[in-house]
């Protein structure tokens, strides 16, 4: 979600900057010509004289820009995690499961897999559609496709069965512990 917002805003700002640069380089609209001043006194008086309702419009626009930029900046710093998920207990009631508890339970199971040196699990997404993000650190001898199959198979099935969250979207990133080459002769 944040990715889409970021990319749309970056594209719009990039387009505006590119258009401004090209219009300066080619001396085309809205500039008057190659040898005319960039902003003559007359044009400034005519268009940028800040008075009356126009002044309020400019002030409001700038204030909106500041607020939106602030929100956009703060949105980059947040890394939202899901605090709780609702688990259907089967008797018409719901239990609230803390996100951290689910995270540590999955992390314990993943960590017990063969060839996994360490892992970090984060529960993200929203209440209705939680998503797991797993970062795996593999030991040098591990086979990545086998580890992934083990994660996708028993571990996730267990998590889905015990929480009742059938569409538990999962994203995994695999890395291998850095180590030196050793020759076997």
């Amino acid at each position: 979600m944040l990715g889409v917002v970021n990319r749309v805003l970056l594209a719009l700002i990039g387009l505006a900057l590119l258009a401004a640069g090209v219009s300066v380089l080619t001396a085309s609209w809205p500039l008057a010509g190659r040898h005319a001043p960039l902003l003559s006194v007359r044009a400034r008086r005519a268009h940028l004289h800040v008075e009356g309702w126009w002044w309020w419009a400019v002030l409001g626009g700038l204030a909106l820009c500041v607020l939106l930029a602030l929100w956009w900046l703060l949105a980059q710093l947040r890394r939202p995690r899901l605090a709780t998920v609702a688990v259907d207990t089967g008797d018409g009631a719901y239990a609230l499961l803390r996100g951290r508890a689910l995270e540590s339970a999955v992390a314990a199971e993943v960590g017990a897999l063969d060839g996994v040196a360490g892992c970090r699990v984060a529960l993200r997404g929203r209440r209705g559609a939680p998503a797991l993000r797993v970062k795996l650190e593999l030991e040098p001898h591990a086979v990545p496709s086998d580890t992934l199959a083990a994660l996708a198979g028993p571990v996730l099935e267990h998590a889905r069965a015990s929480t009742g969250l059938t569409p538990l979207a999962t994203e995994a990133r695999l890395a291998v512990t850095s180590h030196r080459a050793s020759r076997v002769t």
Binding site: L9, G21, A36, R44, L59, Q76, T170, A172, A175
Partner: protein, 179 residues
């Protein structure tokens, strides 16, 4: 068990977005402050009078203006590139329909290097992992080079298969004699 389609990972672009937001915030905030100050009958900041004078004096034929225009255009093109390119070039997409998984390029290189070191006759290996090609450069200290090369290719084919990538890279092997 190949998934329906393996989508590439797309970067969230946190850092470029944060920097751009900071720049927009600074410029808009400066203008807002100055506008409010002038409205409150305080003298406007010097830089705005200076800017107005400059804009009045300079024409698009001036070299400084051209440089500024070029900088603007390049910055805009860069932001557009960041907006449309997927990014995350360091992560290779793995196959599998259940979990959307990615393997770091460095990790893939380490795994393949370990595999290559197991071939007898190989003394040292350097693996460079690209997005579609893996370049393996091995030095050998005994056995026929052609045999070592054939063994390496077989081992690497298995190794690449075991990485479980959606688009398995092609290995290019070169073997040299040490010394």
């Amino acid at each position: 068990m190949r998934g329906p389609r393996a989508r590439r990972f797309r970067s969230v672009r946190r850092i470029p977005a944060g920097l751009t937001a900071l720049a927009v915030l600074a410029v808009a905030g400066l203008f807002l402050y100055d506008l409010a100050a002038v409205r409150a009958h305080r003298p406007g900041m010097g830089w705005r009078r200076e800017l107005a004078q400059q804009l009045e004096r300079q024409t698009p034929a001036d070299p400084q203006v051209m440089i500024a225009g070029a900088v603007l255009a390049v910055a805009g093109a860069l932001l557009l590139l960041l907006a449309f390119a997927p990014g995350m070039r360091g992560i290779l997409v793995m196959r599998g329909s259940e979990v959307r998984a990615g393997l770091g390029r460095k990790a893939a290189g380490l795994v393949l290097r370990d595999r290559a070191m197991e071939v007898s006759g190989v003394r040292s290996v350097r693996v460079r992992t690209g997005r579609s090609r893996v370049r393996v450069r091995a030095t050998s200290h005994f056995r026929e080079l052609a045999d070592v090369r054939a063994d390496l290719e077989a081992v690497l084919a298995v190794g690449i298969e075991e990485l479980g990538l959606a688009h398995p890279p092609v290995a290019r092997v070169r073997v040299y004699r040490k010394g």
